[in-house]
Amino acid sequence: MDFISILSIFVLACFVGYYVVWSVTPALHTPLMAVTNAISSVIIVGALVASASAEELASSALGLIAVVLASINIFGGFAVTARMLAMYKKKER
């Protein structure tokens, strides 16, 4: 992919983000932060690429540490979001 295609995806995604986030109800702003935190750990993709090339010792070691950090975020972020969302209940009638 060339730089311009990537930039196009990025700019359009910013607009998607803008409209999607404004549609989030304020009552769920804390879960929003927790889940955005979890998904931003998709950076684990880069960490995996680095750790998979074992011939470069320093780079793969940094990659493995980054895999641990990103995994903490992924599992912790989604789990804490699920825990919060499970508490939101409607009035029982």
Binding site: A13, M33, I39, S40, L48, S51, S59, K89
Partner: protein, 485 residues
């Protein structure tokens, strides 16, 4: 291994996971759809991780399935162990954390994203071939260097800024702003140095350049957050949320990865919008929050005369009696309620009132908690149904038809000075029109303390106000007892 050689299915898989992340946020438009949204997010992450692992395994010519060597399996074992370690730490933390500590947890999580971005950037710098970002002369592409430099810089700022935010929120560090002399000059110079060096990095990929960028970025993240006071932390946490997104996006540019770019843009936008909402709710400009120092000069001088003014004290029995007779009661909780851990007994009180036929509503100010939406989570934890909880603009018109406004642990968000007194530090901040209610009960520890912003509140002295001076939890417990009798 060559990124340009990523098969079409992998590119599509990354796109799918990016779209699933959009659905994850879209689900949060209502509590009913939020849980399935969260599952979409998990599936998206699973797809991204699996795709990456599969593309790293060599597929034999003409074959369909990877044919890993024993060395590949060792590497895979290490990776899975790293994921498992992260999973154990993450899941344990998520299970144990108290809901009141959510702001600290989010700050801590942001710091991890930031640090991971720095590490991935450095890994890409040290082994650019693996990331497919080298040109014909085996130098790193200049554009990739720029993206890498920006990713590392934003990641480092996110990391050190979040560590400070965590320490302030968690009480390891005083919430008071720390003001260095000439800090604006130092910050500006550091920022310019980072930008200049990142640009220079495009022409010279020497290790000292990217090393200096990293160190300076860690430094400025620290410098930017220490002068910001505790009251502004909700904005800071939202802002760091945004930064962690931009860091992921910059790495996505380096790796040419759609999932990372889409996610980065979503998270970046989310954090930016939340910061905007928080600033608006406090009537503070983003620039003045960043400049810091708020809460440093909360005046103690005006404390002398206000105690002389007459105010009425009420009792738990008064509150129980008047609320039982009311048609509608609006409860306005503030962070003080959460500190006193009064949310559960508060819900008990409103259950008893509902049995008496009283309509009970909760009114939440955007800055009621210590991060956006925090108060809603605390009430949800106490089993308050979310359809009894209303936002400022949705309920403010109802106070004139409300018999009792019940203020617990809040102060600045009900202060009419924000509407009338141009000299007040909170002037212009949107507040609840509690003074229109027939009766006001105001739970407060004592008459001497004032709110976060350090200003006196006219509501204390109004004719229809009864002050309930006590610990919030004890007072509500007494009201519950009086209601049961």
């Amino acid at each position: 291994m060559e990124h340009a050689g990523l098969p079409a299915w992998a590119l599509i898989a990354y796109l799918v996971s990016g779209v699933l992340f959009i659905f994850a946020l879209r689900g949060l438009s209502s509590p009913a759809t939020s849980r399935s949204g969260n599952r979409f997010g998990m599936i998206g992450m699973g797809i991204a991780v699996l795709t990456t692992l599969l593309t790293q395994a060599p597929i034999p010519e003409g074959g369909w399935l990877p044919d890993p060597t024993s060395q590949d399996l060792v590497v895979l074992g290490k990776i899975l162990a790293a994921i498992a370690l992260g999973a154990v730490i993450g899941l344990t933390t998520a299970r144990r954390i108290a809901m009141t500590a959510m702001p600290q947890l989010v700050a801590a999580f942001h710091s991890l994203v930031g640090l991971a971005a720095v590490l991935v950037g450095w890994a890409a710098y040290l082994n650019p071939e693996a990331f497919g970002i080298v040109d014909a002369d085996s130098f790193i592409n200049p554009v990739s260097r720029l993206e890498m430099g920006l990713g590392i810089a934003i990641g480092a700022i996110t990391f050190s800024g979040s560590v400070i935010a965590f320490a302030k929120l968690n009480g390891n560090m005083s919430g008071a702003p720390i003001m260095l002399p000439a800090r604006h000059l130092i910050n500006l110079a550091t920022l310019l140095a980072i930008l200049g060096l990142t640009a220079y990095f495009m022409t010279d990929q020497a290790i000292w350049v990217i090393g200096t960028v990293t160190v300076l970025a860690f430094l400025i993240g620290f410098l930017l957050i220490i002068p910001i006071g505790g009251a502004d932390m909700p904005v800071v946490v939202s802002m760091l949320n945004s930064y962690s997104g931009w860091a992921a996006a910059a790495m996505g540019f380096t790796l040419h990865n759609t999932a990372m770019i889409i996610t980065g843009a979503l998270v970046g936008a989310s954090g930016a919008i939340l910061s905007y909402i928080m600033c608006k709710a406090m009537n503070r400009s983003f620039i003045s929050v960043i400049a810091g120092g708020f809460g440093a000069d909360s005046g103690g001088g005006d404390g002398a005369e206000k105690i002389d003014r007459p105010w009425k004290a009420g009792s738990a029995e008064d509150a129980a009696f008047l609320m039982k007779e009311a048609e509608q009661v609006i409860i306005i909780p503030g962070y003080g309620m959460a500190v006193a851990q009064a949310q559960h007994v508060l819900r008990e009180m409103s259950d008893l009132l509902k049995e008496e036929g009283v309509r009970v509503k909760y009114a939440i100010h955007p800055v009621a908690g210590r991060m956006p939406g925090h108060m809603n989570v605390l009430l949800a934890e106490a089993n308050v149904p979310y359809d009894e909880v209303f936002e400022l603009e949705d309920i403010n018109g109802e106070f004139a038809q409300t018999d009792v406004a019940f203020i617990i642990g809040a102060n600045d968000v009900v202060n009419p000075a924000a509407k009338t007194d141009k000299g007040s530090p909170i002037y212009g901040m949107p507040v609840f029109d509690v003074e229109k209610a027939k009766t006001i009960f105001f739970i407060k520890r004592s008459m001497s303390g004032v709110g976060y912003a350090g200003v006196d509140n006219e509501v204390f002295y109004m004719d229809q106000t009864m002050m309930l001076l006590s610990d919030a939890k004890k007072m509500v417990e007494q009201i519950v007892k009086a209601l049961q009798d």
